[in-house]
Symmetry: C2
Subunit: 342 residues, 2 copies
Amino acid sequence: MGSTPYLRLDEAILQRNIEAMARVAATAGVALRPHAKTHKSPEVARRQLAAGAVGLTVATIGEAEVFADAGCTDLFIAYPLWVDSAAATRLRALGDRVRLAAGCDSVEAAANLIGLPLEVLVEIDSGHHRTGVVPADAGPLAARIADLGVRVRGVFTFPGHSYSPDGRHAAAVDEATALATAAEAMARAGVPADVVSGGSTPSAGFVEQGVLTELRPGVSVFGDAQQVELGTIGFEDVALTVVATVVSHAHGRVVTDAGSKALGADRAPWASGFGRVLDRPDARVVALSEHHATIEWPGALPPLGSRVQLVPNHVCTTVNLADEYHLATGGTWPVAARGRNG
Amino acid sequence: MGSTPYLRLDEAILQRNIEAMARVAATAGVALRPHAKTHKSPEVARRQLAAGAVGLTVATIGEAEVFADAGCTDLFIAYPLWVDSAAATRLRALGDRVRLAAGCDSVEAAANLIGLPLEVLVEIDSGHHRTGVVPADAGPLAARIADLGVRVRGVFTFPGHSYSPDGRHAAAVDEATALATAAEAMARAGVPADVVSGGSTPSAGFVEQGVLTELRPGVSVFGDAQQVELGTIGFEDVALTVVATVVSHAHGRVVTDAGSKALGADRAPWASGFGRVLDRPDARVVALSEHHATIEWPGALPPLGSRVQLVPNHVCTTVNLADEYHLATGGTWPVAARGRNG
């Protein structure tokens, strides 16, 4: 299989995860627009679209270009873009060949979008406190954006505070409440929201009927240790692992050759470590260097030279470190949008 | 300058940092073998060698291949390699064209090196508790490796516990003590250590005379927020920054388009945040998402659309996320060894 570390993708679990999220969206009566920042892969995107996704969400213009090149015809850049002249040129080329939307949380940013072939979704804050205006301000902001001649398609939010133990349901309620307030404010301002978009992987299972029209989960396609520890999924739902070689037994622990440059360094305050070990729920990654994961491993250690499958904490950042997926059934897929940060 | 985020490299500061570390090594009377995992750049390596470095340190076989291709003739893979048949083929090709050494902390791993064109440095633990044997065991281990017919060049350690406030000097003392113990044990075992190699950026300034023969600092070439907060350097010594655009003023804070996929997510327990802002020591990166850095910024906020220079916490992981350096004086250099994890 070549040298470790590498990304191993189980296509059967991947397909099951894609279909499970499609059912969640169908049951809730909402459109599904998965976030492609997680996988950065046209092959994965094609499977999501085949399972009923209406289009893709991306984070950057560079990601949008990759998925437009791959044949995706409906893209939402869920990010409050600041568009300079170079970005405007790229968005013009994109909007000429795909149905395009972008996020916006200020009139100043909207002014850069005048004349571009895209629509806007106003971003609101539903409790994550990152970007976005407070829900009641979505009406006045949408009106000012529309006054510029920029078409407003709707409203969106990312309930990132769903990444918290026991916080998933509450975040979904916050999200629905905030989006309902924003949609009402926009209707009152004469700019009705045709699209009301939300959703994260932890909160998607709690989506409230009747408010959202669209869900944008990313991580659910692969799963990761954060989702396992939040209780969103089980280890059996993890489609992507990092295969690593045991290189040392120093201090009675297992040290592997996959470190932060292969796994990523994300560690939420509530995480039990820097990742998990597939099929060994009792093992813990207690330290991480660039090329070392140090694992406390109860019982007999796996021999030097043996391979283990590590489950990264946050799979979106893991995938962005690799150039390709190695399929469990053989062959590779490129991480086509790796590094497309701008 | 193209779209943000991107790596900005100030060549004048880079050159000053290279020369400063060359002086540290010369003053201590030790050879300098900088760790190229930090920069992954042949252009930077050439400047280090021109300033007197005896060779390069790398972390992986893939990095060694890149620097051998670039003309470096003396490489030490400072890692306890587990060599399977594919790795043996690559090491044979490497050893045929460069002077090659690799780390080792077990007889089992050494057995895979029999017949390969490389020498071994025994790895010892000097307090970081990652890989490596306890110092007194270096003698017996070196003897067993030599008995296999594998040539032992010396001993090495990484005093990673120097990454701690007020811990730099103590870690340098630990390192010298451990290396002295190991070298004595090896001499007693009849396998004298020609090379006694240590050194990290935080501890390099405290290197004890008379024990070490070689230093392997990595980060010092660029500097980063961790080194600033440890007191190793000042902001004026930071050669590499991530240029980001201010995209939102949500909640009265600055949000930029450089997040964890551009900066890296490393955050030591003692770090003040997820990175720093050049020329604004009072600003703090209080939250990080993949494409958002949220900054608490006292006083008037920089306008939407303006650009700021972020100083990443740990520059080694930052560089590995980018495909090129943008030089302050114009032009680009490739991050030639990006992603070479295996």
